[in-house]
């Protein structure tokens, strides 16, 4: 005697296990959705403060002009809007708690080192996301593994930092990187990266993609990164 369960199984018995390509497509779709979600969140987190700062600067500027004085606005929270609308970073000396294994001399104004991990995560003070596993809108540094040193980098070029030659490159856009065989593709969600020699090791730095990290700022930041016990 057939029961409902058997009839249901019978109805869908022809559905076979999916091929690997189907699973990879699911993965790609998921990664794209996650990247879109993070990108939207990041824009909200940064554009609102920049917008408020810009509005405040506008009010201040009007006030100053009204008094017959005319000086430029000082960047707030280490971020100011560049000509192209991207946010620029102002670095200041850092005196707060350091991450295990690193000493970092300078951070963007108003930023701090999060958590106490074997890698360094730098984020704005009071940043909503305190999870050190979540890196959106944060700078992250760690000692590069062999695979990371061997991997092909997009837009790689030498960049002198202090007495060493680092490699400036661009991380792939997660929206555009799908399969393991893909070449790294640069896109709107790419972020700046730096491979910084430190003794026999190399520090890998991933910068935020919401800011305008020009070479001078990267060099200034990287020159203040010290790997403890770098031998």
């Amino acid at each position: 005697m057939a029961d409902l369960r058997n009839i249901m199984y019978e109805a869908v018995s022809d559905i076979a296990e999916p091929e690997e390509s189907v699973l990879r497509t699911d993965l790609a779709r998921g990664r794209q959705a996650l990247a879109r979600r993070r990108s939207t969140r990041t824009r909200r987190q940064f554009l609102v403060p920049v917008g408020i700062a810009a509005a405040a600067a506008g009010v201040l500027g009007l006030s100053v002009l009204g008094n017959g004085l005319g000086s430029g606005a000082t960047p707030r929270d280490g971020i100011s809007a560049g000509r192209d609308g991207s946010a620029r970073i102002a670095l200041i000396s850092y005196t707060g708690r350091q991450a295990e294994g690193f000493t970092i001399d300078q951070v963007p104004d108003g930023w701090e080192i999060q958590g106490n991990t074997s890698y360094a995560v730098i984020a704005p003070v009071g940043f909503a996301d305190q999870d050190v596993q979540e890196l959106t809108g944060k700078i992250e540094l760690h000692v590069a593994g062999k695979g990371e040193l061997a991997v092909e980098r997009a837009e790689a070029r030498p960049l002198p930092v202090g007495g060493v030659t680092a490699t400036r490159f661009t991380f792939p856009d997660p929206d555009m990187t799908v399969n393991t065989t893909d070449k790294p593709k640069v896109g709107p969600n790419s972020s700046a990266g730096l491979l910084l020699p430190a003794g026999k090791k190399t520090v890998l730095i991933q910068f935020t993609n919401a800011h305008d990290w020009d070479d001078a700022t990267i060099v200034k930041f990287a020159a203040g990164v010290h790997l403890n016990n770098a031998r």
């Binding site: 005697m1 249901m8 109805a11 296990e17 189907v22 979540e134 890196l135 695979g147 991933q206």
Partner: protein, 201 residues
């Protein structure tokens, strides 16, 4: 993010341990569960394979995006089913998908066994889909989760975010309705009818 000294797959572009782990775990989950998810979706959509594939893709995407939530769910299986049912409900809310559903679920008849024919497999499947189509979405979901997945009343309730009492009543009424509609469909279909056949939910 990679831990110091740890390698990664060259040219994959993964720089975050979290991303790499999420991908690996997601793929392992997909290998193990995707086919079952699609089967469930086919039943939930009363045999609409295209819509079922859409729902499965939507569910897989939602799961990837909310992977930490899935992992921390008290009942991960219920969470997956809830995602799938939510995808179905969302899809049905779209104007071009809006379908004329069903009449009201009748009062519980009390009878658990209905006459059933021993028709060929294709006819049975067709009758099943026709009967499922005639049921409200939630009732359909209760039947699929309770009887296809063999979930308990509690787990079904959790997956559908509804009280246990609702699951019990919808299961009983839905089962009666399903039997009735399947019998009607099979009776109207040419072919041998074995009135001794029956199914027990």
């Amino acid at each position: 993010m990679m831990e110091p000294g740890r390698g990664l797959v060259p040219s994959l572009g993964y720089e975050h341990k979290e991303t790499r782990m999420r991908d690996e775990e997601f793929l392992a989950f997909a290998r193990q569960n995707r086919a079952d998810l699609l089967r469930t979706a086919v039943l939930l959509t009363a045999g609409d394979r295209h819509l079922a594939e859409d729902l499965t893709q939507t569910t897989m995407t939602a799961l990837y995006v909310k992977w930490p939530v899935y992992q921390q769910a008290r009942n991960p299986a219920a969470y997956v089913h809830r995602c799938l049912v939510n995808a179905l409900i969302d899809e049905k809310r779209r104007p071009w998908r809006r379908e004329r559903t069903t009449d009201e679920i009748p009062e519980e008849s009390g009878s658990l066994v209905m006459p059933f024919d021993d028709s060929p497999s294709d006819s049975r499947t067709e009758a099943l889909y026709a009967a499922l189509r005639s049921l409200p979405q939630k009732t359909r979901a209760v039947l699929v989760l309770r009887y296809f997945h063999d979930l308990s009343v509690e787990d079904t309730a959790e997956a559908l975010s509804c009280p246990r009492g609702t699951v019990k009543s919808q299961a009983a009424r839905g089962l009666d309705k399903l039997r009735e509609r399947m019998s009607e469909h099979l009776a109207s279909t040419p072919g041998p009818i074995d009135v001794n056949g029956a199914f027990r939910g």
